[in-house]
């Protein structure tokens, strides 16, 4: 009986190896500056919108990456109704990326985390400045028509983004990254989101947006930390 009990305990000990803490050591492990090259390249292929953005993220524990993204977008679209929507505005995103690669192996040794997959969350915001021109007001019964322009409208729009991607260190801090983002519109100061047809950083306000980012940049590792 005693032998059996001892054997049982040692198996339990083996299965319950102490978990390695993933958040240990220095907190600050680096800083990255990236520019999105995907959107400008897609813009060159045509379309009504141009978008440019840069990202700044901080590496904490090689697992958490608080991030700030700043961008500027323009769009001009003539609808079937002949109304022209024209916008130029900056946009801002704040959020966090979470590295999916554990910085420490189960045996407690450090693992290289210069190439890692991640998931993230953003809150984004844009003060949308837009013009509406060639707006026809037609009074069918009275037989009158007027064409009007509504210029320099400013409305705020906010949205959430859920994303997943990969960051790769190519050579001594020169880093590439890509991410795919799923966006959902949260709020606007306009009476309805249809007023802000295109929101810089979000895209068309109707429906859920999907966006692909391809970035290139540089990572400044703290001290001798290049892992």
């Amino acid at each position: 009986m005693g032998g059996s009990s001892s054997s049982h305990n040692s198996t339990e000990e083996y299965n319950q190896a102490p978990k390695v803490k993933q958040f240990q050591g220095d907190v600050f492990r680096g800083l990255s500056v990236h520019a999105d090259i995907g959107s400008p390249i897609i813009s060159l292929l045509g379309g009504y919108a141009r978008s440019y953005e840069v990202q700044l993220d901080v590496n904490l524990y090689r697992r958490l990456y608080p991030i700030f993204e700043l961008g500027y977008a323009t769009a001009r679209k003539e609808a079937l109704s002949k109304i022209v929507y024209d916008t130029k505005a900056p946009f801002f995103r704040v959020g966090l990326n979470y590295g999916l690669l554990k910085p420490f192996r189960d045996d407690g040794t450090e693992r290289s985390v210069i190439c890692y997959p991640f998931v993230g969350l953003r809150y984004a915001f844009s003060p949308v400045t837009y013009n509406l021109s060639n707006v026809e007001i037609k009074d069918e019964y009275w037989g009158t028509v007027a064409v009007e322009d509504f210029m320099n409208n400013v409305k705020y729009a906010g949205w959430m983004e859920v994303l997943g991607g990969v960051r790769v260190d190519l050579f001594k801090g020169l880093t590439l990254g890509w991410s795919i983002r799923l966006k959902t519109f949260l709020h606007t100061s306009a009476p309805d989101k249809s007023y802000v047809w295109y929101v810089p950083g979000y895209g068309k306000s109707s429906g859920m947006g999907v966006m692909f980012n391809y970035t290139i940049g540089y990572t400044f590792y703290s001290g001798n930390d290049t892992k």
Binding site: L132, E136, Y141, W142, L182, G207
Partner: protein, 166 residues
């Protein structure tokens, strides 16, 4: 796993494809009017309003096109002007007096403030009105009361037209 990923990307891709072509909203609205006459209620020995259906013709002043052409009705949808602040209409009523039919014309002027409201680039603008005043001849019309001055997509009944006894 790969199949699930392809399925998710396909669904997400389809979700991002939204129609941007035509206006799908019904944005037509007009001022709504109800027609009343006063009838004597024996039980309370007072005149009380009663909804009144009769043959009605209606057109905008200076417009040949009839909005109603001898239509037997007690409710009217009246389009106020979008680009002018006064809308004038000719209301023609026909009633039977003894054995003959009497046709009477009244002119009604509606004074209103207009506001443009942008809906979307597909649908453009709507123009809502707020009735600020009413003036009318009194050949058959006794009075007009503005019940709800806002004429927009939500408005139900804006004015009551009371016809006089003949």
């Amino acid at each position: 796993m790969r199949r699930a990923l392809i399925y998710i990307l396909l669904v997400v891709g389809l979700m991002s494809c939204t129609s941007e072509e035509n206006c799908m909203q019904d944005l037509k609205f007009s001022m709504k009017a109800e027609i009343y006459r006063m009838v004597f209620d024996q039980s309370i020995e007072q005149f009380v309003p009663e909804k009144y259906s009769l043959p009605i013709s209606l057109n905008g002043l200076g417009r040949d096109s009839l909005l109603y052409d001898s239509t037997f009705t007690s409710t009217l949808n009246i389009p106020l002007q979008k680009l002018d602040s006064i809308s004038s209409f000719v209301l023609t009523t026909t009633i039977q007096v003894d054995t003959s039919y009497v046709t009477t014309k009244d002119t009604i002027d509606f004074h209103h403030a207009n506001s443009e409201e942008f809906i979307s680039i597909e649908c453009g603008c709507i123009v809502t009105n707020v009735i600020t005043g009413v003036a009318q001849t009194t050949h058959h019309i006794d009075s007009i009361i503005v019940v709800s001055p806002e004429v927009d997509l939500q408005s139900k009944n804006n004015i009551k037209i009371y016809l006089s006894q003949r």
